[in-house]
């Protein structure tokens, strides 16, 4: 067996070890390389920045714990920004398995920024129906969510004063890890009820949402951990996303090195066989 053949059949545990080290070492010894802000992320930031105090901001946390490493930092950064701007923050989820996580997330950031439930923000929780919930909220928010996650009647919440449906929402961001997510919010929500909208998603989903972004159907897109890191930089509060960028840098380069190596061995083997 030649070297190329041996290298192409390398034990996958060596690759696992390499990826493990590339993730772990930068987390233990961070470098902190500068992160360039993209126009996609800036679109969301600038819109929230331009909203007057007391405007209604809806954040739909449409992911479950599987996508937590990428989307949780995005949600934290967005909530910190919205609370800093003193917006009226309405949060909810279309993913039943993400309900507990979403509640903890909202409560944690609200506590950190000294915001009060019911007055400054609310978490509506989950309601069955997927896209039907979006249409129902567009028709009548109180019908879709008669009570919030804590069981308080939504009609009695001071934060929802003057908010009857999605038409009264100033800006909406869906942080989606699949369906229902950003696309459903656009198709069933924004298109009919005419509110401004931005999106956030996992890294692998981002390329699929670029057509919505380029056509102006969403005004910004926070893609993956990189997007979250950019947002953290924009609000000036570095968190887990910025910390994770070194690890992501190292793993990306490791995968690129592996792909180049595998191709070099592949072509060398082919040359040997042809020759």
């Amino acid at each position: 067996m030649t070297l190329s053949e041996r290298m192409l059949k390398i034990d996958r545990r060596i690759i696992f070890l390499m990826i493990g080290l590339c993730t772990l070492l930068p987390l233990l010894y961070p470098v902190g390389l500068p992160i360039k802000i993209s126009s996609e992320v800036r679109g969301v930031y600038d819109h929230i920045e331009s909203m007057p105090e007391g405007s209604v901001f809806l954040l739909s946390i449409d992911f479950d714990p599987a996508s937590k490493p990428e989307l949780y930092p995005q949600a934290i950064a967005l909530l910190r920004h919205a609370f800093k701007k003193n917006l009226r923050v309405i949060t909810m989820t279309l993913w039943v398995s993400g309900t507990g996580m979403a509640d903890q997330l909202v409560t944690q950031v609200a506590k950190e920024t000294g915001k009060e439930n019911g007055t400054d923000y609310t978490f509506l929780g989950w309601s069955p129906g997927g896209q039907a919930v979006i249409i129902n909220m567009g028709q009548d928010l109180y019908s879709a969510y008669p009570s919030d996650y804590r069981g308080k009647s939504t009609k009695e919440l001071p934060i929802l004063e003057g908010v009857r449906s999605l038409k009264d929402v100033g800006y909406m961001v869906s942080l989606g890890a699949g369906r229902p997510g950003v696309e459903e919010w656009y198709v069933f929500g924004k298109d009919k009820y005419k509110f401004e909208m931005g999106g956030g998603c996992t890294g692998v989903m981002a390329p699929g949402l670029y057509p919505l972004l380029r056509s102006g159907q969403i005004n910004g897109l926070i893609g993956g951990l990189r997007g979250a890191a950019e947002y953290e930089n924009l609000i000036g509060q570095k968190g887990k996303a910025v910390a994770g960028m070194d690890a992501q840098s190292a793993t990306h380069l490791a995968i690129i090195a592996l792909v180049i190596m595998c191709n070099l061995f592949y072509f060398s083997l082919r040359q040997q066989r042809d020759g």
Partner: protein, 216 residues
């Protein structure tokens, strides 16, 4: 019986299909009220669909356990996990915490579901790296183009890549915004036209597979 099994569902599909397609273009209060009621029904039906899904899952795994088919032990774990979670969820009224104190349901969610789902997703990185090494080879011109594009985007999406090759960020952004967007848009338009055609076929009763294949 044929009327109930065939003609009535076709009639309901035709009437509701046409009605709700037209509703989108009619902003009259009566039309909006109809949409409000229908979506409320949809939410309720969605809730029942969840019960149906859980029942079907239970039935499928009960058969596996009864017949002691290969991997029936996993079905047993599923049964214990689901019944345990449902029981604890009902006992705690579905709340993860009460006045800041974590309930048993919250404990299951935070210390079992969250780490399990996180682990499943995290090991993907290892398998992707291994799969990339084994199969991402420039065996043809098309594969070579894909390979080069992937390497540029991977470089351009991380700070270290941009630091080493400053142009990679802009090139990666161009690939995503121009090449990727145009191709995705073409696919989206094709899929959407297909969905419109299929909807018409269902509404007008040409496509009937959703009715099932029972004897008439």
């Amino acid at each position: 019986m044929i009327f109930l099994r065939r003609q009535l569902p076709l009639l309901i599909t035709l009437v509701t299909g046409l009605l709700f397609a037209a509703q989108y273009y009619v902003p009259h209060p009566a039309s909006e009220q109809m949409l409000t009621s229908a979506t409320k029904w949809l939410q309720i039906v969605g809730g029942f669909a969840l019960i149906l899904g859980v029942t079907s899952l239970f039935h499928q795994h009960a058969v596996k356990i009864r017949r002691q088919e290969a991997g029936w032990g996993y079905s047993l774990v599923l049964y214990v996990g689901m019944l345990g979670t449902i029981a604890v969820g009902l006992w705690t009224n579905g709340k993860e915490s009460v006045e800041g104190t974590m309930t048993a349901f919250g404990w299951i969610y935070n210390y079992m579901m969250v780490p399990l789902q996180g682990t499943m997703f995290a090991i993907l990185a290892f398998f992707i790296a291994s799969a990339a090494y084994r199969s991402f080879r420039a065996k043809s011109r098309e594969a070579a183009v894909l390979l080069v594009a992937a390497v540029i985007v991977m470089m351009g999406r991380v700070p270290l890549g941009e630091y080493l090759i400053p142009l990679s960020g802009d090139v990666s952004s161009w690939i995503l915004n121009v090449l990727n967007s145009s191709v995705r848009r073409a696919i989206l338009i094709g899929v959407s036209l297909g969905a419109v055609a299929l909807s018409f076929k269902i509404i007008f009763g040409v496509e009937r597979s959703y009715l099932g294949g029972g004897k008439e």
